[in-house]
């Protein structure tokens, strides 16, 4: 019995370490965003503690940067909270995907695992082979993404004045590069998925001209996936695409 426990513990640690390993690119992605956020927050008069506290408690890059921008332009609290809510609506969809892949029964583990629902955590978990998507893997992803975000904010608060602007600016590409690195390998060997992706990009680009970007992202994500169900066929693949699971 004891031995069995040991083995389980070992595979638990292995999955956890794998989750951390898979999240390393996010560290490079989050750092510049966190630093940008910290610089902006200090710029609109938030204290160091408030800046770090926002990252600790909210843990949402786009929302925090938007909130700070709105504070800077003199917006009121209600409109900031509302805008945050709209911007985060996409997380309902992402969270549904994640919890469909990583089945969790325990109440407290559910509460903690909700922290894996960031654009990046979602990207990592949903592009990972389904057999690797267990609870310790998700916890590993959460550990590194969360620490990267908080650590990046602290670095930003401390070092915002030291870092050369060109270096900070260049890291702005990091999150996009990460998403591309995650989707390109799958799109490359599936023409129908490629078409779906192109259609989504076009819809979003057009919508962005007419409506607010956070709504555009939600609508084009849903519309692209809905159209995609008519485009993509059912060939089984070793990742999220094509495996049609009925529960």
């Amino acid at each position: 019995m004891k031995e069995k426990g040991m083995i389980q513990q070992k595979s638990w640690l292995k999955s956890y370490a794998y989750g951390i390993k898979k999240s390393v690119p996010v560290f490079f992605g989050f750092l510049p965003v966190a630093i940008t956020f910290a610089i902006m927050a200090r710029g609109v008069g938030m204290s160091s503690m408030e800046t770090i506290a926002m990252s600790v408690f909210v843990f949402a890059g786009a929302s925090q940067i938007m909130a700070v921008g709105m504070i800077g332009s003199g917006a009121g609290m209600i409109s900031i909270v509302l805008a945050t809510f709209v911007l985060n609506l996409r997380h309902v969809i992402m969270s549904t995907c994640i919890f469909k892949r990583v089945r969790i029964k325990n109440f407290f583990l559910k509460l903690i695992s909700a922290l894996s629902v960031t654009d990046e955590g979602f990207a990592i978990i949903t592009t990972e082979d389904e057999k690797n998507c267990n609870i310790p893997f998700a916890l590993g992803v959460i550990t590194l993404t969360y620490l990267s975000w908080v650590f990046g904010t602290v670095i930003g608060v401390i070092a915002s004045n030291i870092l050369p602007k060109i270096v900070a600016d260049s890291f702005g590409i990091a999150l996009y590069a990460l998403f591309l690195a995650l989707i390109v390998p799958n799109v490359k060997r599936n023409l129908r998925l490629f078409i779906t992706v192109i259609v989504t990009a076009v819809i979003n680009t057009v919508l962005c001209r007419f409506i607010d970007i956070s709504w555009a992202i939600i609508i084009s994500t849903l519309a692209g996936a809905a159209l995609g169900t008519f485009i993509v066929n059912d060939e089984p693949k070793d990742n999220a695409i094509g495996e049609v699971t009925s529960v």
Partner: protein, 101 residues
């Protein structure tokens, strides 16, 4: 504005959309088409986050983001290259672009 209250409210509206599906998803039944739809969302969501946002990496010069994007796509085509390396190479490419242009 009371920043502490703002942080608390933002925490609520951020956390609730994240946690709610955890308690609902097991009661949902997925049909064939809906399963396909859910499986496609990672790709359409990431695409929507990339385009056209990537072209706004530099507010005045769209091609700065395009350069980083092309490098990332090109390297991501090789299966052997880990994604952290793709990200770093893309960042370096943008840094060089800023420096030269």
């Amino acid at each position: 504005m009371n920043i502490a209250v703002l942080i608390l409210c933002m925490m609520l509206v951020t956390y609730i959309p994240r946690v709610l599906p955890a308690f609902v998803v097991e009661k949902m039944r997925f049909g064939k088409r809906f399963g396909k739809f859910i499986n496609l969302i990672p790709y359409t969501a990431m695409t929507a986050l990339i385009f056209p946002g990537i072209l706004g990496v530099d507010a005045e010069r769209w091609y700065i983001g395009a350069i980083g994007g092309v490098i990332a796509i090109a390297l991501a085509c090789f299966k052997k290259i880990p994604s952290s390396l793709v990200v770093l190479a893309s960042v370096l490419a943008v840094m060089v672009a800023y420096w030269i242009i």
